[in-house]
């Protein structure tokens, strides 16, 4: 395999070897890890993965030997939240992903290279492509072309995963025109907010962004969506496209530095997690490190800001509602109580706690496409917890989770009974906007 040529010292430098020593192998992370619970193998536990990375760094196993467990990690980081010794699992994982990406680059087939290039370098980072995709999806749904296509079985030639995802993708609305420059005068006590719209979010869930902005405005904030912003780089970061992720981070930092915002707000648990950790993209000695840290400190999830505002609830929502937290919101951004607090304050709602709600749903960025079967194992475990007490609405805070929950609901044959909405949507409904 590729690994014979790898220099051991060089490898140790690239892997987060020192960080692996904080793991005392107590196993406290096992019950929190969705892949361990669903696959039932220690290699797919946080403790197992850390051990494999350490052994790879020591040259006791080859990189190839750690590849499968690392590839199948969701990156949900629930293990960090429960770890009694604060192991920096995120760093260990990223280092392993990067090393694997680097050494695989050589072995990758041409076809795969082209595909990665299109997805990571072009599609995700190119606003126009995404807009087109968004519009495409919009007209696709609107004209019912989807039904025609589905009938013609053309979707069968796509990988099964993409086909399935497509079948549950919600109707797309085009984004509204938004304020994209600061007003000259700032009223006192008014929060100035830079809105981070996110790329996938702004195509498939543009509607959620529009509602979020409206809610902030109703709550008395000035909200600006600057045009210079771009993709957050999270997916690239998780897939070992390090250089690309760093460049995207720099662009965003630069773009937002030009304005004086009190906060930069997003409604996407996953992107938000990357934004609050931009400084981890850089070496501590890098001049960008401090800039990134300042930027990161400004970034907040929409629920954090909304929970501070006076929201004018006018409509009762008399429904049984469950909440599926986004792992990245919980474990990386550490936003845990705010979404629940707002949710419970909505008049009429009966909150049904979901059993083991902190377990990842298996969506995890593009995991449910790349590792579709494994993802479905994890999703089925999640849905099993739902069955005893089926809610009418499942609230999410991240587009990935949103799509995955839709898929889960469909797989259980519950599409007619259970609605999946973003937190922002249900708040907006209660405020009748």
């Amino acid at each position: 395999m590729c690994c014979a040529m790898i220099d051991e010292k060089e490898l140790r430098g690239k892997l987060a070897y020192d960080e692996t020593f904080s793991c005392v192998q107590c196993g406290y992370c096992l019950p929190a890890c969705p892949t361990y619970i669903s696959f039932g193998k220690e290699a797919h536990s946080p403790r197992g993965r850390i051990n494999l990375v350490k052994l790879a760094a020591e040259g006791k196993i080859s990189i190839h030997d750690m590849a499968n467990p690392i590839d199948l990690c969701l990156g949900c980081r629930a293990c960090e939240t429960v770890c009694p010794t604060n192991v920096e699992y995120g760093k260990i994982l990223t280092s392993a992903v990067n090393v694997l990406a680097e050494y695989r680059e050589k072995d990758r087939s041409r076809k795969e290279k082209v595909l990665r290039d299109v997805v990571f370098h072009r599609a995700l980072t190119n606003k126009n492509v995404l807009k087109l995709m968004g519009k495409g999806l919009y007209y696709f749904k609107k004209t019912k072309m989807d039904k025609v296509l589905r009938k013609s079985k053309i979707l069968n030639i796509m990988p099964q995963a993409i086909g399935r995802m497509e079948s549950i993708t919600p109707a797309v609305k085009l984004p509204l025109n938004r304020q994209n420059a600061l007003s000259a005068e700032k009223t006192r006590s008014q929060l100035r907010i830079g809105y981070f719209s996110g790329c996938v979010m702004d195509t498939i869930f543009a509607n959620v962004n529009d509602l979020a902005i409206k809610l902030l405005e109703i709550g008395g904030c000035e909200v600006v969506t600057i045009k210079e912003q771009g993709c957050c780089g999270a997916l690239q970061h998780h897939s070992g496209e390090r250089e690309l992720a760093v460049n995207l981070a720099k662009k965003n930092i630069e773009a937002f530095e030009k304005y004086e915002f009190d906060y930069i707000v997003n409604a996407i648990g996953g992107c938000g997690a990357a934004l609050v950790e931009y400084h981890h993209f850089f070496d501590e000695n890098d001049i960008w490190f401090e800039r990134a840290k300042r930027f990161s400190a400004l970034n907040k999830d929409i629920s954090v800001i909304l929970s501070k505002l006076d929201l004018p609830f006018t409509k009762s929502i008399n429904k049984n509602v469950s909440y599926q937290p986004s792992c990245h919101l919980t474990n990386v951004q550490k936003v845990i109580d705010e979404p629940l607090k707002i949710l419970k304050s909505i008049p009429g709602i009966t909150y049904i706690p979901m059993k083991q709600k902190d377990m990842c749903c298996g969506s995890a960025g593009i995991y449910n496409i790349v590792h579709h079967e494994e993802s479905m194992l994890i999703l089925d475990d999640k849905m099993a917890h739902l069955k005893n007490n089926i809610p009418e609405v499942i609230v999410t805070t991240n587009p990935g989770c949103h799509l995955q929950m839709l898929l889960g609901v469909e797989r259980e044959g519950l599409s007619d009974h259970v609605k999946v909405v973003h937190l922002v949507e249900i708040i907006a409904e209660a405020c009748e906007i």
């Binding site: 020593f21 904080s22 005392v24 192998q25 107590c26 196993g27 406290y28 096992l30 019950p31 039932g40 193998k41 220690e42 290699a43 536990s45 197992g48 051990n51 494999l52 052994l55 006791k60 196993i61 030997d65 750690m66 499968n68 467990p69 009694p84 010794t85 604060n86």
Partner: protein, 472 residues
Amino acid sequence: MNGHIEVIVEKLIEAFGDSSRVLTEVQDLYSYSFDASFGIYKPEIICQPIATDEVVELIKLAAQYKIPVVARGTGTSLSGGPLPVKGGIVVDFSLWDTKLEIHPDDLIAVVSPGVITSKINDKAIEFGLMYPPDPSSAHVSTIGGNLAENAGGPRGLKYGVTKDYVLGLEVVTAEGKVIRTGGRTMKNVTGYDLTKLIVGSEGTLCIITEATLRLVPRPLATKTAMVLFDEIVDSGHAISKVLRSGIMPAKMEIMDRHSIIAVEEYASLGLPIDVEAILLIELDGHHQAINEEMIRVEEACMSVNARSVIVAKDDREAEQLWQARRLVSPAIVKIKPTKISEDATVPRSKIPEMFQRLKEIREKYNVHLVVFGHAGDGNLHPNIIADQRDEEEMHRVEQAVEEIFEAAVSLGGTLSGEHGIGLMKSPFMEMELGKDGLHMMKLIKDAWDPQNILNPGKIFPEPGQRFVLRND
């Protein structure tokens, strides 16, 4: 050792009827090569049984080919119990968590070996009952592992440890025979007590495939106090004084000054850092009874020079007080990453003296030693914090640990109160048991497992085996 691995794998898959539970990939072999102590030992095969028949088949194969069989729960052992030091088959029981029955009228639970310990208590609570053994690792470790290590926890003071709650076992012997020991009754004197022999045998005598456990009524309420001491010796006196005033607390846990400081630096809970020790005392029982008992606890502590006693007003406040104890482990590993957890235990009356010895050892070897744990039953947890990568320091730590063992034994205590002997402490067995005592144990092992296929290399030291705390 074995040119037969491929044949064994093939036959195992046939016996299990499921190739996904027989693992031989490098990623898997290394993932079952460790536990929460030290050392990496690669097995040749992993299998994950979920039925007694499967265990029988695999033991028969192992006996036929004379290949070691090492049981494993979730690998939280602190003494090297599940390490396959001689290679062979690691039998991972973590998937076999399928049986957890509560029989409320008999006050018993029947469980399969892979059930996570805390789930037994969670389920018992639904019936107003309790499974008392509460090792700190209860939410991760398996009942099989607890039985094999005879695990205990804070509640051990009042309620005893795992062995006090086992009524009967189903086990597979080294010959592949299924036997049942004990039964479902509280009293049972039919022949030798094999149940108690197997509990704590660390997978060296047989494999446990089912257990019948005793449950007790759940106490109605609990009440917690935090007691501060300027002198650590007084905290030792307080323990005896409370116990002699007619009260049996459910828990009595101690934190020494070094652990208090570590917790404060870690989490700023507002603990006083100028005291030498904190005792956390929990009473359980009827509301009225424990309110009265708490007054007596306060009096007892104050009479032996406690600085003050803080009694939690409600469960929430109690939770806050216990938070300090829970944070000790995360706090101390902030200082250095490697934690060596010992659990030498001494008779209660010797607690003050043991503290003195530990203080001397700390200074003599210049190691970062903190003491916390189940003070009420003499099961102190001297923990040394070090860095595995520092050879010289680890050498000092090894010497310090050896001296801790010597101190405990010379005070009439034992090497291990709950973590077991495993690989790590076997070199000290003779020191505590004497040549003849160890020999009698060895005779039992030889009778049950004449081919030495069950967890070889554990409990009994190899000739010339030394105490080491390093990974290579």
